[in-house]
């Protein structure tokens, strides 16, 4: 770029040397126009020819991690000041033009486009309006630069001085950090990971335990044999001691999980999923059965005619705006209708034809009301629903089918589906349907009866659909309307529209209805609505794609750890464990001391609160990595209590890029690289109909002494002598010494999947090295990187890296004209026999197999009688990604506060105006906030974005090596505040600490000690079931 303008000047100068050129020069040189152009024009000054143009060597494609959407990005780099600590300056981020995620609605450029051409673009700005030199990313993505270059980042490994949370640190070397974490720290008195990580395989233990039970082995002998390796020899089912080493992880989960599960063998691997959308995921997963798990409700938006957006905000959040927002705006313009069910007038609701401002937590009732309307009016797709299996479905050109006709055995207290074997007409794998009045194994029937309520051979049976129908009829539309506050006419309108476009309608749903205590049931009922039209796998219908190029297998098996371990035992979050099957149940019976979550795989939120009561057993170490339980998990106060207390938590290590609200309590902070400095693997949710695989790769290095958590894991594991690192780390015998050994192999897998990508040619190889040399300087060791794969694979690896991933070309998304190619192809379930067989851990009552509208309740099954007058919901701020973007001044310029939305009625009653400071409180805490009075939320409901109110990221000043951190800069030299809620356009950033942390207001469960209310099936905390009062200060 510099070369370019230099040479241009030189050239012109040189030309100028021939005086004659100067004479005709004006004919070429615009500003020296010879004609007088009119009063508005001028020339000869103010404009030059330096454009900071760039080429392929100035660009690296990677992945954005400003939020959990993980868009593909393009980074344009330029050299910075020599004195800076950084290797290079990121000039600008944009979307990756090779990737469909960033190029809606134009489509990605061809994958085969040479990188030089791609970076230069097509030059069609004048007419077409797009040069295609970059794609879209959202505002948070644009601001990613400020995440990387934030001087408040942690720059060296830190060790706590003084008590936890004292805010005093000293810098230690990486070697010291690793040694003390592994061997223990004498001065801090923290134990070492090594001594905490005793592991023993399950089989031997359990075999011996059987002996103890049978009396062939004494407890004493058992104790003797296992006291050093088991958490508790009285409760061997707790598993090995290493289970007391707990992890909470936010990203790079594949690498980290490999370490935790397969190398260490700890069962306590937690990730943010448990506080993200877990009940939605579980509600969905359990609504379908098939080869592929269907975790989410997404739509083929481009071709949908009616989109029912339920408690999600794709224009802002979901996964993610970059991809979904332009699709939706274009679809609307092309005639799509949209209804949004959301208690508040979200950015998505703004664009909808119908906004249904539902009373929070009553979504199940609305789903039932819509279901009832559809059934009463016979608006459901009968042909679809009567297909009992895939074969029958195929005959009707239906890619999926449902269990509507399958019979449920109500005579069994567990209410399973009736099996063909029960009637002696088939096997245990076969369900039963009624065809022509006769019971038939489901896979042999072509058309089942939909409404069945009879007794067969003594079995009282009903069809799933019958049960569903009865469920919807339990309340009248009036009653549903009263519960949900949604007018009858609107219920009918949604039901009508949803069923008026055949298969070209779909539901898009995520956290809103699900992150409630009744989230699982609610999500199930929402999914059931989509069952009624059966738009799965249809063009314009409900999609379940997730066609990723293979990443962890193929050329290299990356997950397997040779001689690895198998984690076993009870995780402290009691997820995935039936209480009744534990030794604790034998001891305590009902009610359990805390809820158990037999169906949920992730319950990170209750790990620390349980540790407070050492239930089911104490934890010894916590390693957090890009997760902040204090901020994001329910009731931060309780989470903090444990983090602070070395007796409850003897060792706390945080991998972080900042001293955060949780990591401030750590014994050691390992300064991680930020996403723009490293490799990684996270990918967009499967809501795209073409295949893709995105890659992360380092784009810059801002601080020299930070290290990726992967590299730290490798070092720690080596010191602990764990399998899976160093030599023979992988199944093929190759080694894992630096993160590239893992991630570049992953790229090779991607490159070779299916038809391998072409080799990078000489020019592309050159671009690859030059760009990285420029971007990373000494941090780029090409020879070493190459060693990660076989020489013949390298060129393909480069081909993929040069493009930021692998992206299937559009055009083949549909098969048979109108079916989605990467399909779900399975069964949609109205009835969940798995859950029907389960029991709650309070009183041992069975759960419901047919979902229903359940009021918000506490652990003791009692509906919560809110003591506070206002229901408080929360959502994702448009300009902040979880809690990790606050260092971006640009984003805080857009908005820095999480205003409390309040209806005029509530505001007037309290004498509150927009901009007023208020106290927002419940029984356990009082916080301060600012009110925004709006018509966009119902009376009685208030809410705010959850992403603010941090104390970390420099807000609290810590002392490192005796030196207090600089206080954060302030902006706006005047003494005035120009910002007003929703009118913040003064261009000045607000402070990093503005707003309040929403999760401190979490409703506590009155039936337990120190715990939030939980959905025991889905596993979600009642994040959206908060109750508050608000008073003007």
């Amino acid at each position: 770029m510099e070369d370019k303008s230099m040479s241009r000047r030189k050239f012109i100068k040189a030309l100028g040397a021939f005086g004659a050129v100067a004479a005709v020069g004006p004919a070429f040189i615009g500003p020296i126009k010879q004609v007088f152009n009119g009063v508005w024009y001028d020339e000869g000054h103010g404009v030059g020819t330096d454009y900071q143009d760039y080429g392929a060597e100035d660009v690296i494609f990677s992945t954005c991690e400003q939020c959990n959407t993980y868009c593909t990005i393009k980074a344009y780099i330029t050299s910075g000041k020599k004195e800076g600590p950084y290797s290079t300056v990121i000039r600008k981020l944009a979307g990756n033009q090779y990737s469909p995620l960033n190029m809606v609605p134009f489509g990605a450029i061809a994958y085969a486009t040479p990188i030089d051409e791609a970076v230069k673009g097509n030059g069609d700005v004048k007419r077409g309006g797009r040069g295609a030199r970059g794609g879209r990313i959202c505002l948070k993505g644009q601001a990613g630069i400020q995440t990387a270059y934030d001087p408040y980042r942690v720059k060296h490994p830190l060790k706590r001085v003084g008590p936890r949370g004292s805010g005093k640190w000293k810098v230690i070397s990486w070697e010291e950090a690793y040694d003390e974490i592994v061997e223990g720290s004498k001065d801090l008195g923290t134990p070492g990971l090594k001594e905490l990580s005793a592991y023993v395989p399950e089989e031997g233990v359990m075999a011996d335990w059987e002996k103890v039970k049978k009396g062939t082995m004494t407890q004493a002998a058992f104790d003797q044999k296992y006291k050093d390796v088991l958490v508790d020899t009285k409760h061997p089912d707790f598993g090995p001691k290493v289970n007391q080493v707990t992890f909470m992880v936010g990203d790079r989960r594949d690498f980290v999980q490999r370490f935790i599960s397969n190398s260490l063998g700890s069962k306590n691997y937690y990730h943010h999923g448990g506080v993200c959308g877990i009940s939605s995921v579980i509600g969905n997963v359990r609504s379908y059965s098939g080869q592929k798990k269907k975790k989410r409700q997404y739509a083929d938006i481009d071709n949908t005619l009616f989109l029912l957006v339920w408690g999600t905000n794709p224009m802002v959040a979901n996964k993610g705006p970059t991809w979904l927002a332009p699709k939706i705006t274009n679809a609307i313009q092309n005639g799509m209708q949209m209804a949004v069910v959301d208690p508040r007038f979200s950015k998505t609701a703004e664009k909808a034809q119908i906004w249904a401002p539902i009373k929070p937590g009553t979504d199940a009732a609305l789903a039932l009301a819509i279901g009832r309307t559809i059934i009463e009016k016979n608006w459901y797709d009968e042909i679809y629903l009567t297909n009992p299996n895939g074969k029958a479905a195929a005959q009707d050109n239906e890619p999926t089918w449902s269990d509507a006709t399958h019979l449920v055995n109500l005579s069994d207290p567990k209410r399973p589906k009736l099996r063909a074997s029960d009637l002696g007409i088939g096997t245990e794998e076969q369900f039963v349907v009624i065809e022509n009045g006769q019971p038939v194994p489901h896979d042999q029937a072509m058309e089942g009866e939909l409404e069945v309520d009879k007794t067969i051979k003594g079995f009282k049976v009903k069809s799933s659909f019958q049960l569903y129908k009865e469920r919807t009829m339990e309340k009248t539309i009036d009653e549903y309307s009263a519960i949900t506050t949604i007018p009858k006419a609107q219920i009918k309108q949604i039901a009508k529209q949803f069923t008026s476009y055949g298969k070209r309608a779909s539901i898009l749903s995520y956290r809103g209805p699900a992150m409630h205590v009744n989230g699982y049931y609610t999500q199930r009922l929402i999914a059931s609505l989509n069952h009624l039209i059966g738009s799965y796998d249809w063009k314009g219908g409900n999609i379940t794609t997730g066609a990723f190029y293979q990443e962890f297998a193929g050329k290299y098996d990356l997950n397997t750890v040779p001689n690895g371990k198998k984690p076993w035992g009870i995780p402290t979050g009691r997820n995935g464990v039936k209480y009744e099957s534990t030794s604790l149940f034998e001891k305590d019976g009902y009610p359990a001391k805390r809820p158990w979550f037999p169906y949920s795989p992730q319950t990170v939120g209750d790990v620390l609160p349980s540790a407070l009561h050492q239930y089911p057993y104490p934890i010894k170490a916590l390693i957090t990595h890009r997760m902040s339980p204090v901020l994001s998990a329910p009731n931060g106060q309780i989470q903090e209590q444990v983090l602070k207390d070395p007796d409850l938590l003897p060792l706390f290590v945080a991998s972080d890029v900042q001293i955060g609200d949780s990591s401030k309590y750590a014994d050691f902070i390992l300064p991680d690289t930020v996403y723009l400095e490293r490799w990684g693997r996270e990918a967009i949710y499967p809501n795209i109909t073409t295949k893709l695989a995105s890659v992360y790769q380092p784009v810059t290095r801002v601080f020299p002494n930070v290290r990726s958590f992967e590299n730290s894991i490798i070092e720690l594991a080596k010191r602990m002598g764990l399998p899976g690192y160093g030599e023979n780390a992988f199944a093929d015998g190759s080694s894992l010494d630096i993160e590239e050994d893992y991630y570049i192999k992953r790229v090779a897998n991607i490159a070779y999947d299916g038809t391998p990508v072409p080799d990078a040619n000489a020019r592309e190889l050159e671009v690859f090295s030059r760009a990285r040399k420029k971007a990373l300087g000494n941090y780029f060791d090409e020879q070493r990187w190459k060693q990660a794969v076989k020489p013949e694979e390298w060129k393909k690896v480069v081909y993929v890296l040069n493009r930021g991933g692998r992206f299937e070309e559009a055009g083949n998304e549909y098969v048979n004209n109108n079916h989605i190619k990467y399909s779900f192809g399975g069964q949609a379930n109205f009835y969940d026999e798995g859950v029907a067989a389960g029991k709650n851990s309070y009183d041992g009552q069975f759960f419901e197999g047919m979902p229903f509208y359940e009021e918000i309740k506490s652990f003791n099954r009692k509906p919560i009688q809110p003591k506070q007058p206002l229901q408080f919901i929360n959502w994702k701020a448009r300009n902040m990604g979880t809690y990790r973007n606050v260092s971006s001044a640009w984003l805080r310029e857009v908005r820095a506060d999480n205003y409390i939305w309040m209806n005029k009625v509530d505001a007037n009653r309290r004498g509150i105006k927009t901009g007023d400071t208020v106290r927002i409180s419940n029984e356990s805490i009082t916080l301060e906030g600012t009110v925004y009075v709006t018509a966009g939320i119902a009376p009685g409901v208030v809410g705010s974005a959850y992403n603010m109110g941090q104390k970390g990221y420099g807000v609290e000043r810590h002392t490192i090596d005796g030196q207090k951190q600089k206080s954060l800069p302030t902006y706006n030299h005047t003494s005035f505040k120009f910002k007003k809620p929703m009118h913040e356009d003064d261009g000045y950033p607000g402070g990093r600490g503005e707003g309040f942390p929403v999760n401190k207001l979490t409703e506590l469960d009155s039936a337990l000690k120190d715990g939030a209310i939980y959905d025991e099936i889905g596993g979600a905390p009642g994040q959206l079931d908060m109750f508050v009062d608000i008073k003007k200060v």
Partner: protein, 423 residues
């Protein structure tokens, strides 16, 4: 400079203690202001409470205030030299000199206000023919030149008389008169003729170019509808007359008091009446402004008035502009007991001047508090310490120039007294 002047003055004139105090405090104020001026120059406009939302503030208000004073003084002098209202001749030269000093002060304020003061010459070099401000700048130059020439001619006789004086004043007089040192009836006539000609040129220049033009700076801004009326420049001119008269009146009274000279009561009272007459016209025009504004129902305009009259600075409108600047002086001048009282008139004059400062502030600021575009942030503004102190410094500079000029130049119409002073 100050030191020099002081020294010379001491040599040349008997300086009373009060005078020393006066000069001393001005010098101190100038020095203090100087510190803030340097601060402002080093750190830029960050030292102010100006923002992109409210880009103009106190310095612009003072700038138009002083331009107004200048134009007002000049127009007053024209009453004498052009329209032959010789009853006011006592203050004629003073008026011209005041006009010059006010322009110097006004332009210093502008200089302080420029983001790039070092580029001020650009304003002379590049001329945007469609920019009122560009025209203004050039008008100012012509206007100042004209003022200086006119003042020179007005003083010429006195200067010639001063030539023999064996002090700094004499020296200056000798320097300024060159060879042109005779006074005859003919030269007197010639001078008068020239005064008249210059005055005639000056009147449209002051009205159209200088003050009307300055008003036009605001009036032409379509973006700020509260300014955007045809009456606006006229109000500027009229209020210039108000303030010019008031200022001269105040100066005259103060000066005569300080020098314990004989006061021309008749003139003072009639000037006071004239001041109030102008004030009435001013108020009338403003009334129509507001009336039309209210009837126009233009939201921006209404919002502007709401802020002016009910916003955070409404004290400036009601308290300063209306009460102190209009109601009280009108009362003083018309109330029997005070109407003939010199001190009361002095107070009235000073209040009018202060009131006009309020007027200027109320013109400049509230319009920028109203968001320029519905939905954009509202502005806010009050000068910072720096802005106040810079203003004080510039004000002190003006007074200093005035005082020194007054000491060194024959501005008073008192030829008799000159003789005695010479020796």
């Amino acid at each position: 400079m100050e030191a020099y002047a002081k020294q010379e003055l001491q040599k040349g004139q008997k300086s009373s203690a009060a005078f020393k105090w006066w000069i001393g405090s001005l010098v101190v104020l100038l020095a203090v202001g100087g510190y803030f001026i340097i601060e402002r120059l080093v750190f830029g406009l960050e030292t102010t409470n100006l923002s992109s939302i409210t880009p103009w503030g106190a310095w612009i208000a003072f700038y138009i205030f002083f331009v107004g004073l200048s134009a007002g003084s000049f127009l007053l002098s024209s009453l004498i030299y052009v329209f032959g209202m010789y009853q006011y001749e006592r203050i004629g030269k003073m008026a011209l000199f005041t006009a010059v000093v006010c322009m110097i002060v006004a332009l210093t304020f502008v200089l302080m206000d420029l983001g790039r003061p070092e580029r001020f010459m650009n304003a002379m070099v590049f001329w945007n023919v469609i920019s009122i401000l560009a025209w203004e700048i050039h008008f100012y130059v012509v206007y100042i030149t004209l003022l200086v020439v006119e003042l020179y001619i007005a003083m010429r006789e006195d200067l010639v008389r001063l030539r023999p004086a064996n002090n700094i004043r004499g020296k200056i007089a000798r320097m300024l008169t060159f060879k042109n040192s005779t006074i005859t009836e003919e030269t007197k006539k010639r001078d008068h003729r020239w005064m008249k000609i210059l005055g005639i040129f000056g009147i449209p220049l002051a009205i159209l170019g200088v003050h009307g033009g300055t008003g036009a700076l605001f009036a032409v801004v379509g973006a700020r509808s509260a300014w955007n009326t045809g009456l606006f420049p006229i109000i500027f001119v009229v209020s210039a007359m108000v303030s010019g008269t008031a200022l001269l009146l105040a100066i005259y009274i103060i000066k005569t008091k300080v020098t314990k000279a004989q006061i021309d009561r008749k003139m003072v009272i009639s000037l006071g009446k004239m001041m109030i007459a102008f004030l009435f016209i001013d108020l009338l025009l403003q009334f129509y402004e507001y009336l039309v504004g209210v009837y126009g129902l233009e939201p921006h305009h209404l919002h502007n008035m709401a802020i002016q009259m009910g916003g955070p600075y409404s004290w400036s409108f009601w308290g300063v502009q209306m009460f102190l600047g209009a109601v009280v002086p009108i009362f003083i001048v018309f109330y029997k007991k005070t109407s003939e009282n010199i001190n009361a008139i002095l107070i009235a004059a000073i209040l009018v001047v202060i009131g006009i400062i309020g007027v200027r502030f109320n013109i400049v600021v509230p319009s920028q508090i109203v968001p320029v575009f519905e939905g954009m942030p509202a502005g806010d503004y009050f000068p910072t310490l720096n802005e106040w102190m810079v203003s004080v410094g510039i004000g002190a500079m003006g007074l200093l120039i005035f005082t020194i000029g007054d000491r060194l130049l024959p501005l008073e119409e008192k030829p008799e007294s000159l003789e005695g002073e010479g020796s």
